[in-house]
C-alpha cells in the first residue's frame, strides 16, 4: 500500500459508513439497499483488518484533521487498541446486519441508522480529542435513539424515553467534565492532556475525573449505574439488540480504558474501580438469575460481564489491562452470538419466554450446538476464548495482590454457568416439537461461535495483540510523542 492511502486509512471506518448512510437515505429499492448496506459494512471490515495489521507491531497512525497540527486541531489516532475495537465493531455490524436482513426486519431507515451507528462507534474509538469524543458519542447515541424507537409500541417508546434521558444526563456530566478539564489545563487533546494533567491544579482535575467516571460509567452500565440497560435492550428486534448489546456499552468501557490510563493514570490497583467491578459482576449475574426471558437474562449478563472488563482496568497493571481488552473482544463475540441465537428462537417461535419454550434440541440441533458453544465460552470453560480471558484476569488479580475480586470473579463464573444451564434446560429440553429455525437465521450466530472457538485455540495471537494495545496505555510515551509529533 502506498503511504498516502495508509495515512488516510484511520478516517475510512468513519467516512465510509457516513457516506453509505447518506446514500441509503435517498431511498434506493430493497435489493440495492441491502447490497449497499452490506457493502458499506464489508468495506469498513476490510479497512479495519488492514489497520490491525499495520498497528500490530506497536505503530501508531495519527491523522490531523484539516492539517491543523495537534494539539490545536482535531486528531484521530489509530493505535493497536483503536484498531482492534474498530475491527470487532465491523465484524458485529456485518453479522448483525446479515441477521437483520435474514429476519426481514430491515426497512430503509434501519439501514441508514445502522451505518450512522457504526460511524459513531468507530469515531469514538478513533478520536484523540476529548471534546470530539463527546461529539462521537452524540452521533452514536442519536443513531441508537432512532433504532431503538423505530416502529415501537407506546409502552416501548416510554422505556426508550428513559434510555434517552439517562444518556442525556450522562452527556451533561461529560460536558461539565470537559469544561473543568479545559479550564484547568487549557487543552482537550488526550496526548497533550497526559502531559499537562500532572501539572494542573488538583481540585478541578479530580472533579473532572469523577464526572467522567460517572458519564462513562452510565454508558458502560457499571455498578451502581446499570439499571437502565435491561429495559432498553429488551425493546428492539434481535439484530439491532445484538449490535447494541455488543458494542454500545463497550464504547463506554473503551473510553474508561482510554481516559483512566493515558489522561488520569492510576498508580497501583484502584479501590473504587475494584469495588465497582465486583458489584457489577455480582449484581448483574444475580439479576440474570431472577429473569424468565432469554433476552432479559442475556441483558443482565452484559452488565455482569462488564464487571470483568472493569476489573482488568482497576488492576492497572499491563497484564490486567491486556486481559481486560482481551475480555472486551471475547465478550462482544460471544454475547452477540447468544443474543442472535435467542433472536433466531424469538423470530421462529414468536416468544423468548422460558415457560413457553421447550424441546428445541429435538428439532433445532445446530442452534443448540451454537448456543452451547457460546454459553460455555461466556461462563469461561476451555477450550473457548472465555477461558483465556478469565485466566488472564485471575492471574493479573493474584499478581496485584487482590484475591477478593478474584474470588468474586470465580463465583460469578459459576453463577453464569448456572444461568446458561437454566436457559438450556428450559428452551432445548422438555416436551414438544417446535418449528425449525431457518438456516439463514442460525448462520450469523454460528459464525461467531466459530470465532470464539478459533480464538480459544489460538489465544496467544489475540493476547499478543492486546498486550501491544495495553503497553500503549500503561506507558503512553510513544502515543504522546507520535500524536504531538515531537
Amino acid at each position: 500500500m502506498n503511504d498516502k492511502l495508509i495515512a488516510a486509512l484511520p478516517a475510512l471506518p468513519i467516512l465510509v459508513p457516513l457516506f453509505v448512510a447518506v446514500l441509503l437515505m435517498t431511498g434506493p429499492p430493497r435489493l440495492a439497499r441491502r447490497a449497499l448496506g452490506l457493502l458499506g459494512v464489508a468495506v469498513a471490515l476490510a479497512v479495519s483488518v488492514a489497520l490491525v495489521a499495520l498497528t500490530r507491531d506497536g505503530r501508531i497512525l495519527p491523522i490531523q484533521a484539516g492539517g491543523w497540527a495537534a494539539p490545536f486541531g482535531i486528531t484521530l489516532v489509530a493505535d493497536s487498541l483503536a484498531a482492534l475495537m474498530v475491527l470487532i465493531s465491523a465484524i458485529i455490524a456485518l453479522v448483525g446486519l446479515i441477521f437483520t436482513v435474514a429476519a426481514n426486519r430491515d426497512d430503509r431507515f434501519v439501514h441508514a441508522g445502522w451505518q450512522f451507528l457504526l460511524a459513531g462507534i468507530d469515531w469514538a474509538f478513533m478520536t484523540g480529542d476529548i471534546f470530539n469524543l463527546y461529539v462521537a458519542y452524540e452521533v452514536m447515541l442519536m443513531a441508537s435513539y432512532f433504532l431503538l424507537t423505530h416502529g415501537t409500541t407506546r409502552r416501548q417508546a416510554r422505556e426508550a424515553f428513559g434510555y434517552i434521558a439517562i444518556n442525556l444526563i450522562a452527556s451533561t456530566f461529560f460536558l461539565f467534565a470537559v469544561a473543568l478539564i479545559y479550564s484547568a489545563t487549557g487543552t482537550l487533546n488526550m496526548a497533550h492532556l497526559a502531559e499537562r494533567v500532572p501539572l494542573a491544579p488538583a481540585a478541578p482535575v479530580r472533579a473532572a475525573a469523577a464526572l467522567l467516571l460517572v458519564a462513562f460509567g452510565i454508558k458502560a452500565a457499571i455498578f451502581p449505574l446499570f439499571y437502565w440497560l435491561p429495559h432498553a435492550y429488551a425493546i428492539p428486534p434481535a439484530g439491532i439488540a445484538a449490535f447494541f448489546g455488543g458494542m454500545l456499552t463497550k464504547v463506554g468501557v473503551y473510553s474508561l480504558f482510554r481516559v483512566f490510563t493515558i489522561v488520569f493514570p492510576s498508580v497501583g490497583p484502584d479501590p473504587l474501580l475494584l469495588w465497582s467491578a465486583a458489584g457489577t459482576m455480582l449484581f448483574g449475574v444475580l439479576g440474570a438469575l431472577a429473569q424468565e426471558d432469554i433476552r432479559r437474562i442475556l441483558s443482565f449478563h452484559i452488565i455482569s460481564q462488564v464487571g470483568y472488563m472493569i476489573m482488568g482496568l482497576a488492576l492497572a497493571s499491563q497484564l490486567g489491562i491486556a486481559g481486560g481488552i482481551f475480555y472486551v473482544l471475547h465478550h462482544i463475540v460471544v454475547k452477540v452470538g447468544l443474543i442472535l441465537t435467542g433472536g433466531a428462537i424469538e423470530e421462529t417461535q414468536g416468544t423468548g419466554r422460558l415457560d413457553r419454550l421447550g424441546g428445541l434440541a429435538r428439532t433445532n440441533g445446530p442452534l443448540a450446538l451454537v448456543f452451547v458453544m457460546c454459553a460455555l465460552s461466556l461462563a469461561g470453560v476451555p477450550p473457548f476464548s472465555g477461558f483465556f480471558a478469565k485466566l488472564l484476569l485471575i492471574r493479573a488479580g493474584l499478581d496485584a495482590g487482590q484475591p477478593g475480586v478474584v474470588a468474586v470473579s470465580i463465583l460469578v463464573s459459576v453463577l453464569t454457568l448456572m444461568s446458561m444451564v437454566k436457559i438450556y434446560a428450559a428452551v432445548f429440553w422438555g416436551p414438544g416439537t417446535p418449528k425449525r429455525a431457518s438456516a439463514r437465521l442460525v448462520v450469523p450466530a454460528a459464525l461467531l461461535a466459530t470465532v470464539t472457538l478459533v480464538v480459544g485455540l489460538q489465544a496467544q495471537v489475540l493476547f499478543s495483540l492486546t498486550s501491544t494495545a495495553a503497553a500503549h496505555l500503561t506507558t503512553p510515551a510513544r502515543y504522546i510523542t507520535t500524536v504531538l509529533r515531537k
Binding site: F131, M142, R158, I164, S171, L175, A179, L180, Y182, S183
Partner: protein, 106 residues
C-alpha cells in the same frame, strides 16, 4: 460576575432536574433541555469572562479564548437535535394514547 454566572448554572441545573423528576412528558423534555443549557454555561464560565474580542489587531490583548464558544456552539446544535427528536417521540406517544398529561402512566 463569575459568582452570578455560577448561580445561573445552579438555577438552570436545579430547574432542569426538578422538571425531569415530574410525571409530565413535556416537562421532562424541557428539563433535559435546561440541563444541557446549564452545561453550556459551565463551558462559558470555564473559559473566563474577561478579555476583548478575539480578533487579531481589532482589539487590544488579552483576548477572550474563542475555543469554548466553538464548543458551546457544537453542544447547542446537538442539544437542539436531541430535543427535536424527543419532542417528535413525545408527539408519537401522544398519538398512541393520552401520553403527555399529568397523569401519564399512572
Amino acid at each position: 460576575m463569575a459568582a452570578a454566572v455560577a448561580l445561573l448554572i445552579g438555577v438552570l441545573f436545579a430547574t432542569g432536574l426538578y422538571l425531569l423528576l415530574g410525571r409530565s412528558l413535556l416537562r421532562q423534555i424541557i428539563g433535559l433541555a435546561l440541563l444541557s443549557h446549564s452545561a453550556n454555561v459551565v463551558i462559558l464560565l470555564a473559559a473566563g469572562l474577561k478579555g476583548s474580542v478575539p480578533v487579531m489587531g481589532a482589539a487590544p490583548p488579552p483576548h477572550t479564548d474563542p475555543l469554548p464558544q466553538a464548543l458551546i456552539l457544537t453542544a447547542i446544535v446537538i442539544s437542539f437535535g436531541v430535543t427535536a427528536f424527543l419532542l417528535a417521540l413525545g408527539y408519537r406517544m401522544h398519538l398512541f394514547g393520552a401520553a403527555g398529561g399529568e397523569d401519564d402512566e399512572r
